[in-house]
């Protein structure tokens, strides 16, 4: 068992974990931060994406011990402390960018990283950035639209309504 401490969403957390425990399980089950979801546990679906020291990682593929002392950002940290949704989250609601909401935390964290690097991504860049995140519900269109809405971008596609 290892004592692990990390700064998550600006708050310090600590807990005990076996060396083999994934960061995802540590966040979810040891710390009760269940916003981060597991869709595949083999690094393909992206549902478990969180930011570690500013870079997106698949928390199902990272061990909790590897994140010792790291700065971690999860979906729980996106809304303001008074609960107000961030512009990206609000855009997700406005464009219907989520249905069951299961892939959503990973989508949001992936896009947060994208927008820090590129505040005005094109539709193609958005699709590229989320190509490692599987959403079975929405067909992605509304997620792409959410990012465009949040960044004032325009869809290259033909709007038919």
């Amino acid at each position: 068992m290892h004592e692990i401490e990390m700064l998550i969403n600006g708050r310090s957390y600590s807990g005990l974990a076996e060396a083999r425990m994934t960061l995802a399980d540590f966040l979810r089950h040891s710390l009760g931060l269940t916003g981060t979801h597991l869709g595949c546990e083999h690094g393909v679906c992206g549902a478990c994406t969180v930011l570690v020291d500013g870079a997106s990682v698949r928390s199902c593929l990272m061990l909790a011990v590897q994140a010792k002392g790291a700065i971690v950002e999860t979906v729980e940290g996106l809304a303001a402390t008074d609960g107000k949704l961030s512009p990206l989250q609000q855009a997700f609601q406005d464009t219907h960018g989520l249905q069951c909401g299961y892939c959503t935390p990973g989508m949001l964290m992936t896009i947060v990283e994208l927008l820090r690097e590129n505040a005005q991504p094109s539709e193609a860049q958005i699709r590229d950035a989320i190509s490692g995140n599987i959403c079975r519900c929405t067909g992605y269109q509304s997620i792409v639209e959410a990012v465009l809405l949040a960044t004032g971008g325009k869809s290259a596609g033909r709007m038919s309504e």
């Binding site: 809304a79 909401g101 992605y140």
Partner: protein, 786 residues
Amino acid sequence: MTGHDSQKPAVPAALSVGRAVPRLEDPKLLRGQGQYLDDIALPGLLECAFLRSSAAHAKIDDLDVEEARAMPGVHAVLILADLMPKLTSGRMPLGASPTGGQSNSTPFVLSNSEVAYVGEPIAMVVADTRYLAEDAAARVKVAYTPLPVVTDARAGMSADAPTVRTELESNVLNSFNVGFGDVESAFANAAHVFSDDLWQHRGCGHSMEGRGVVAEVRPGDELCVWSSTQMPHDLYYMLQSMLGLDQDRLRVITPDVGGGFGPKYCLYPEEVAVPAAARLLGRNLKWVEDRRETFISSIQERDQYWTVEVAVDANARLLGIRGRLVHDQGAYAPKPVNLPYNSATAMSGPYMLPSYSMDVVIVHTNKVPVSSVRGAGYPQAAFAMERTMDLIAFKLGLDRAEVRRRNLIPPEKMPYTKKLKARSGAAMVYDSGDYLASQAEALEAAGWKDFPDRQARALAEGRYIGIGIANAVKGTGRGPFESGIVRVGQDGKVSVYTGATAMGQGIETALAQICADGLSLPVDDVRVIAGDTARTPLGLGGFASRQLVTAGSSVHLAAKSVAAKALAAASVILDVPQADLELKDGHVRVLASNRAISLAEIARTLRGAPGYAFPAGTEPGLESAMHWRSDSLAYANACHVAEVEVTPELGQVEIKRYVALNDSGRMINPMIVKGQVEGGIVHGIGNALYELMGYDDSAQPVTTSFQEYLLVTATELPFLETILRETPSPINPIGAKGVGEAGTIPAAAAIVSAVEHALAPFKVRISQTPITPEALFRLVESSKTN
């Protein structure tokens, strides 16, 4: 309402239906505050893992659990015999059948003497953590004697095939004919007869959240079960009988569900094993399916082999269709075998067909059991029919859309009765729709007419582009009912309780809209509680694109009845005739005056108080429970047009454009409808091009991760162009039709039609899904050598 963003302008009362109201579900989900099955935390919760068969068919000679049992952190390793004291049967009942009962094709709670597919649960480990439970499951020793395996349903139906389970005499679970009219004379008198062999391949639903179950043992021998299921009430009835529990001692709750798509519309062995073990051990237990388990234990669907013969007159009008449909059922039939019946009866879709005869054979194989996946038999039917339409056009040198136009049911024939019976036994009556207009509008939007020019120009540049079309109808709103209870609280807020199940479709928002309009309230004042058997006594759940139609109708009627009750009570309280009252903005107002009484006050009055008089002539409680009944279906329709570019040397398909017209009757929330359609299309595109659940010759699954089984990602898709038509259904009070599956059903057929069209210079005929790069490459190569 928790989480509602107060900055958004309140939706004006009585105007929400038909508008793109932002979903009430979203704020908590966007903050990571949803509560999905795996998020449920209970005191002393232990975790479970299942040992699953590694053999496709084998006798279990010996099961040695001693070493696993002795491992630290392990509380129990259970086999069927251990659970039997808590079970009334070791075999699962026939799911969703009111008469319950077992057949010799339902799965076992745990298998103890023989296994019939890779993934079949054999033993269950209970440990402090899932990590430890999996460690221990790996130490259970199973001695197998391999038995012969059936991998292909067509081979499995032959008389000398080995049986997939030794208890069976034949792998043919059922066979029947679906038909009408004089098919023999249709063929005898036809101007042309064509035939084709088709295969549509199985895939899994792959909701991003797997299945899962939590069982909590409560004082007084009570049991509370949470399940990531599409049908909490069915689970309740099944558990009650399987566990021999008093109805008052059991409660089933569906928490937030991370997608269903069919596989969660089934009752699984784990959903019985975990609660039974919880009762046996007196501990709270949880099991959550991991992705590998989804691949080998969640329901799959679609493997069907069709042989189709079609007879047409000189004008390409359909005279008759006949053929055979072989349905791969997998190792067990957890439900009555509705799917192939759906397929066979749905084949003629939106077209007029004078005669029909389809022989259906349902055959067991040593693969994961089969039940519904989004579309439930309809995508295969649409694929068979739309491929047939393309074949007729190809053979007669006609435009593919023109052949369809000549055969579509015209609007003046609505309502149109097919000479077939729906599963309920009721006649199949298409209630409304204008299929010709739908097709015309989709073709126009997609630029169908100019396509030959564009194709010729592309070809001159050495590019292979193609356009494809597919139509579909889907019977939605399957009854017999869904519950909707509307209750006004003493604060004027309204609760809606329903047996419908929310699994991402936005049903909570849509029902809240209907209720809000019925009571002239802002949507935010309505809270919807779905999927809790303690709050809603009756319900059927989420499947067959049914919930908005059925629960929506019930909620509509219940809200109306509450409104009538409020007016009646207000009339007594205010001493004003009802004709002089109106319900507006949460108040009953006296017309032409500023007197008013709020719904909250009326609710408080109707709550009753000891010693206070009750308004004369009114019943207690400002609430109403409705169970809108229906045996008929509301038929949604769709026309999809896809444009693709194919690189023949690589077998690669790029989707350039996708235009989907959808008519799901009156739309409660067009934004939700559009989202459902888009999600459905992408599922169908996956079926067309990517999703291959592979098995080798010994029925070993070879695709058990998302690295081998490909789902569509954002980069494979063009901008989806969705056109929404609105032909109200006359058969329900809200005019709605279902939408959840309508986008999926024609999508694979449209894509395949486009790919075939792009490869017209090679004269390839595509008769299967998925059409993988390898399969496409081979088709092109063999056309070159022919």
